[in-house]
Symmetry: C2
Subunit: 265 residues, 2 copies
């Protein structure tokens, strides 16, 4: 098969990356996606860098060997923070750089000063978003808040959990000063973008699934790697352990069933 | 070393089992405990039975080979639900049977009718508590609620999280009828026993760390396995991955530092 017609891998520890997959499908209707949710080892966000890198390499190799992917979208912030240490023969797309870039652009457009971040503990500790933002403009203030309970709430019932509004209050109060832009720095968080933006319309929300999808478009174009198959886009979902809610979440997110296969990695 | 003077293993996926360890130390001041928190693979509560059994056997073998333990307390409800499938040359003590027994005793003492359970998804799906309770008295009503967000709140800040009272309300409202006894069916939950019992003094709370410690006492006595060493009890804590909060939690729980060693399993 010509390289351009090979599938694109999308990888996350669990259900969160489905927010990225949904965006990728919308923006790249002609591509085939193989989504791998490493549910046997989730969550990554509480694990050490060494462990996260070794999991990422194992998953990448699985997708290369079994699906011959032409590129990998790492739809997981915790893995995106260590992307430079992951060895890969195909291009890797993380969510941090595009998310940081979009946040800075947005801040400049609205003439704001401070960027806030909600993310997992691993992403916050890595300072990856702060570093990327400071590279673009060292004068920008960044405040990062670790929000493990928001992850649990989304995993329990996507964007409908009754405790979500209380959790929004709790994690918004943690910012020491008013922020202008809030990066949803965990792939679980775009699921509650709508109720959150209704609550805080004065704060611009950055959805990294949109940013990473844009960065993929640019690279595919540049490298002449857009699929030339005339077939409709196909998507397959692999998980490494049975996960309750997974299939019902897929239906809620995509409004249809998608084949889910359990694999050993 | 004589069998009776060997250490007792205590095993959990993470920080939750420290509630059991604390109780074991109080009730068995002469024993040496080796605590293993399998933080690299946590949480177990969302994983499948097959995966949980294989993790449990790996951890048991590690403690047998490296610490020559005389018994293992499985301070994890998710693993306790599959205990009968775990092969072991030493006695295993799970939290389910003692917890179910204590709940039934308590219910009879107060002349109540309904037992409620808060636990992880895996524990609820296993129906292990319900089965044990029904064996003791088939006429008792049992209602089980899966509470993943309560686990996240404890992992974030033990019993001090501002969202805890909201989460109590949320998960109490899930019971279809009034309950008389509530089993705290996850080792994370004894940490918030105090604020919860203040909130619902009319409901008796069952703390499985107390029940499992009692069942261990009985067995050690029966098998003549109580330590005869005159030294003060020693405790060592092993974890399989660095976990933020772990050391500060240890200090909060035990009012002192305890040595923590990272091990590869």
């Amino acid at each position: 098969m010509n390289t351009e017609n090979k599938p694109i891998g999308v990888f996350d520890s669990g259900v969160g990356g489905l927010s990225v997959l949904r965006q990728l499908q919308i923006d790249h209707p002609q591509e085939t996606f193989i989504y791998l949710g490493d549910t046997a080892r989730l969550p990554y966000g509480t694990k050490s860098q060494t462990t996260i890198i070794s999991y990422a390499e194992r998953n990448l190799n699985y997708l290369l060997t079994n699906y011959n992917i032409k590129a990998l979208v790492v739809a997981c912030n915790s893995v995106s923070t260590v992307l430079e240490y992951v060895k890969s023969p195909v291009p890797l797309f993380g969510v941090i750089k595009p998310g940081a870039f979009a946040a800075v652009e947005c801040l400049k457009n609205i003439g704001g000063k401070r960027i806030g971040l909600w993310a997992t503990q691993a992403t916050v500790l890595s300072k990856a978003y702060e570093n990327e933002i400071k590279k673009l403009d060292p004068s920008i203030d960044v405040e990062m808040i670790s929000c493990p309970t928001l992850v649990a709430l989304v995993e329990e019932s996507l964007n409908t959990h009754k405790l979500l509004p209380h959790a929004f209050d709790y994690y918004l109060e943690k910012f020491k000063e008013k922020i202008d832009v809030l990066i949803l720095g965990c792939t679980h968080f775009p699921f509650f973008k709508e109720p959150l933006s209704k609550k805080i319309p004065e704060i611009q929300l950055i959805d990294s699934s949109i940013s990473v999808s844009k960065s993929l478009s640019g690279k595919l174009e540049l490298k002449n790697l857009n699929s030339r198959l005339n077939e409709k886009s196909l998507t397959k979902i692999l998980i490494t352990d049975e996960a309750k809610n997974f299939k019902s979440f897929i239906f809620q997110i995509f409004n249809k069933d998608i084949e889910v296969e359990k694999v050993e990695i």
